[in-house]
Assembly symmetry: C2
Homo-oligomer: 670 residues x 2
Amino acid sequence: MDIAARRTANPDHWNLASAIRVLAMDAVEAANSGHPGMPMGMADVATVLFKNHLKFDASAPHWFDRDRFILSAGHGSMLIYALLYLTGYKQMTLEQIKNFRQLGAITAGHPEAEEVEGVETTTGPLGQGIANAVGFAMAEEAMRAEFGAEVCDHRTWVIAGDGCLMEGISHEAIGLAGHQQLGRLIVMWDNNDITIDGRVSLSDKTDQRKRFEAAGWRVLSCDGHDAADIDRALTEAKNSDGRPTLVDCKTIIGFGAPNKADSSKAHGSPLGADEITATRNAYGWVSGNFEIPDEILTAWREIGARGAAAHEGWKARVEQLAAKDEFIRRSENGVSPKLAPTIAAFKEQTLASKPKVATRKASENTLEVLNAEMPENFGGSADLTGSNNTKTGGMGIFSPENRMGRYIHYGIREHGMAAAMNGIWLHGGFRPYGGTFLTFTDYARGSMRLSALMGAPVVYVMTHDSIGLGEDGPTHQPVEHLAICRATPNTLTLRPADQIETAEAWEIALSQMHTPSVLALSRQNLPTLREEIGENLSAKGAYILREASSAPAVVLLASGSEVEIAVDARETLEADGVPTRVVSVPSMELFRQQDVSYRESVLPAGPARIAIEAAVRQPWDWLLMGERGAEAKSAFIGMEGFGRSGPAPELYKHFGITAEAVVTRAKSLA
Amino acid sequence: MDIAARRTANPDHWNLASAIRVLAMDAVEAANSGHPGMPMGMADVATVLFKNHLKFDASAPHWFDRDRFILSAGHGSMLIYALLYLTGYKQMTLEQIKNFRQLGAITAGHPEAEEVEGVETTTGPLGQGIANAVGFAMAEEAMRAEFGAEVCDHRTWVIAGDGCLMEGISHEAIGLAGHQQLGRLIVMWDNNDITIDGRVSLSDKTDQRKRFEAAGWRVLSCDGHDAADIDRALTEAKNSDGRPTLVDCKTIIGFGAPNKADSSKAHGSPLGADEITATRNAYGWVSGNFEIPDEILTAWREIGARGAAAHEGWKARVEQLAAKDEFIRRSENGVSPKLAPTIAAFKEQTLASKPKVATRKASENTLEVLNAEMPENFGGSADLTGSNNTKTGGMGIFSPENRMGRYIHYGIREHGMAAAMNGIWLHGGFRPYGGTFLTFTDYARGSMRLSALMGAPVVYVMTHDSIGLGEDGPTHQPVEHLAICRATPNTLTLRPADQIETAEAWEIALSQMHTPSVLALSRQNLPTLREEIGENLSAKGAYILREASSAPAVVLLASGSEVEIAVDARETLEADGVPTRVVSVPSMELFRQQDVSYRESVLPAGPARIAIEAAVRQPWDWLLMGERGAEAKSAFIGMEGFGRSGPAPELYKHFGITAEAVVTRAKSLA
């Protein structure tokens, strides 16, 4: 069917979908940057989804029982921005659309969950969304099992492109989803046969349908530009047979653009004024740039409001819920009131028994008492359960047969696990933690960075954290990974030295609302070194563990398994008449947050400093420099956190990386 | 068929395979650490492979035209160590086997290509071997196309386990292999249904056979303990129909261990003395620990020698080869004599034209002249060809139809690309380079670390290297990735400031024999800043780009796109009477290698220092500290490179991370 025939066959649908398409074209053109082709290609599918299937209420973006819509192909961000604007999400004004990709707007190049209501997860790095979705769907199953379908009864819908499906993470995600039989997970594949380099056939000939079937999925298909056919497929998709569903949506990238459709030219650049005019003509769209005719906007706004009644019904059911308060706390991801007292009691018990255990075992001991009190803890491991010590008594295994299980055998899927944990948190209801070896941070990096960027406080239980793992050798021995975690903005790297610090690390990690934690834990046994437990000293990042007998000549700094070495060295030094202080450094990030007076009280100018850690030096230099000294005559002009979407020159200015800033700083130092 | 029946059915085979099994059991038991189950399970398949199919000559591990045997399931390292010892590889003595996993032995926990002749690639992190193998097989196709089947005519054999196949990287690898129709790639799947956590069904129900077929593979199968059936399957596997082949080998982990076979108990721990005795009885094996009866060892040694004649024939054919010298240089991965003069001429031309181009474009310009002279350059991109600027004129696209093509469309497979590049280098014949965005270092980290650990000098062309990429936003803007690359041992991070430094960076990267390079390149245009070209100043790591008008009051340090900012700031400062030096820092690793007197000449004590880089500060602290100053009263005890395989306490001692070392250092500083 050609464009004209499609227009006349179903004009109501055509107008709704065209509104998305022209907004996408116009915004990309105005920004002179972006990806018009994908929103244009998937507008029909998205329109049918939002009009007839997606459970949502545009006036209540945080409604817990909404369906989740995830744009895994995040470069097509204008698709979701257009949908949010058209359906009436308050935050997404036309002004925001007009400022697409500009500094200060919420309409970033790739959709950012931390900025935009209605964006469920941050996407852009390909394959992340589909892998997050597995976590969303697992959390939904688990919350439904725990609190009942009256208050938790929704689906997870994903749009994924060829790029998402080529990335390795998609294999881990679909394998996990197939295994877990996540029947409420529906992936709509934007099967447009185009990648940046050209046709998919340039680099891939995978039979995706067969591949998904092999992973235990059901596969449906539709003409992605035929509203009735899309509606049929999505209706069938909701009628699950227990398996997750792939809907193969055959689409044309840049649909309707006379010269650029069905080619990579429509993918990642503005179409250009002439092509936009020609495309508008093909659509029969006569309104000006960014203008949506009233009747079309009204029709869209009605779609945005159609879930309001269901939302009200849900509110009433929540009121009736026996476990109402707990349900609300959980659905809002509130910190457990049990956390602090449980940790306090456990520390007391530890101080009394002074165990000599590996911190991975100390972590298990801590989790043993925490998990009994905190049903929101949702644990797992990427097939290293017995090594990561992540499973505690009575958790039960989460599976199709037991949705009350609180432990996930993620399989040998570190990246998939990390992405699923992000999804579990973002869905709400649970605090996910998951284990692997610290070295395999490498395999999970893509999703770990997104935990940090989105501010998802998931907990990475990374054991075997140094050469201390021994015989497995250098492929398994992390040396640069502490530096990697510490270099990543908004990430807490916690490397406890004994069971008391381990308990404190868990308290810190499970108190976070916007920051993920990496717990770096030893394979080898370590003695209990701490002698007081009143305060959570680990929360200061670094503290005096052993004071020198008199004014310190040397300060030894160490983390984790090397603190024992520092304490041993101090014994010798003190005996030899060298007054020596030992500073334990469980978290550099937290120490950096302390005020200067505290930092100087721990690390005074004067004494020599030696840092000890079985890893590379890079993160330690700032502690060896001291507050003053070298720093007083030096400065760094650069980044302290993640970047932003906007034109590059504005970004440099925004972050103060300019010749002017250098000049000012230099004059103050010279 | 039960064990006894198998023993008597084919006693010759049984004895050969049992020799592998008992060595694996004995070595793991002696080390009290390791993975006996996998070698025991795959001994039959490996025996048939080495006895009847693998083209190799144990006396010549580096014979270019050997078949490559890759143990992707690297934890089963005793399988390959046993095979190397039994077939008579000189380096692999019985002493080495007895010292399995001990410090100083070459028999590390996971097999290390850089240490052991006959180990083609370092494995252990799961899925890497199968993904390396794709590179090996592509390099073989390309060398055969270029130099002829008389001198290049071999296969790549892989043993992969369930873990390898669950990892995301396996998806990227098999998709690429299927697309490229690598008919000489044969993967033997150790289908034992066991992972560390338990049965595979605990976390996966993927139909692997269907999955491989969906990716364009041929699938065969065999009883992995029936020599005749294995032989039939491997014979068929060699008879390619153009597709790569998966051989589904149904095996039993820990084969023959009465109480631990077919369970995760056989996977990662010693079997224990009693179980070993029972297993020996089941095998009918009467020799003592580590003892191989003479007639069995002799039979194995004959297997090790059976390729000698083929090897001699090949040598004779090489002598006849018209392109003999070039073939030898290429097969030994020798540095091109064309490299230095081509770069010198290009720098001269650049100095004359002073282009203002992005360094990604400068990289393309450099490659344009290099690729014309260096047929060994084998380029590619993970679907960002037009953005990474990695393709130059006349390369041709490597495909089943054109094995002379020198450019690979890797698809959206960063991890698979990095692993394939490692394989291409390790195979020999080519210098691979591949592009993606610097942020997606995250996706390729697993293989990038192995490039460093193995010393494979592949080149990562990482463009869009800061917030300078602009509108794509924080998901695409690297901030921690320079720190990550710089923290990784044996990795050159090169961030050139203009086209001259870019050309120098390529010269450095393509001269390496044991170190991978990361070229961090800008999206945005940058002016030519360098004014002299005689020496490769980038090779010093940091150098004075602009001298102060008199004794410097301030030294500005910067890399890449921020050098322009430093130069601009210097103009203002000098005009305002502040004598300012600008130091360009293209590579911290190379600067660190210079002697102290050079370093101090560039960064003298006294002047203030300001570092400028649109990334996190972590790697800069050491340059801001200076050679003396804070450092004179501080020290760091930790790691400078990768670890080793051995018991943990010995490793701590080996790397000097001990209380004694701390005491000595402290006394010298206090």
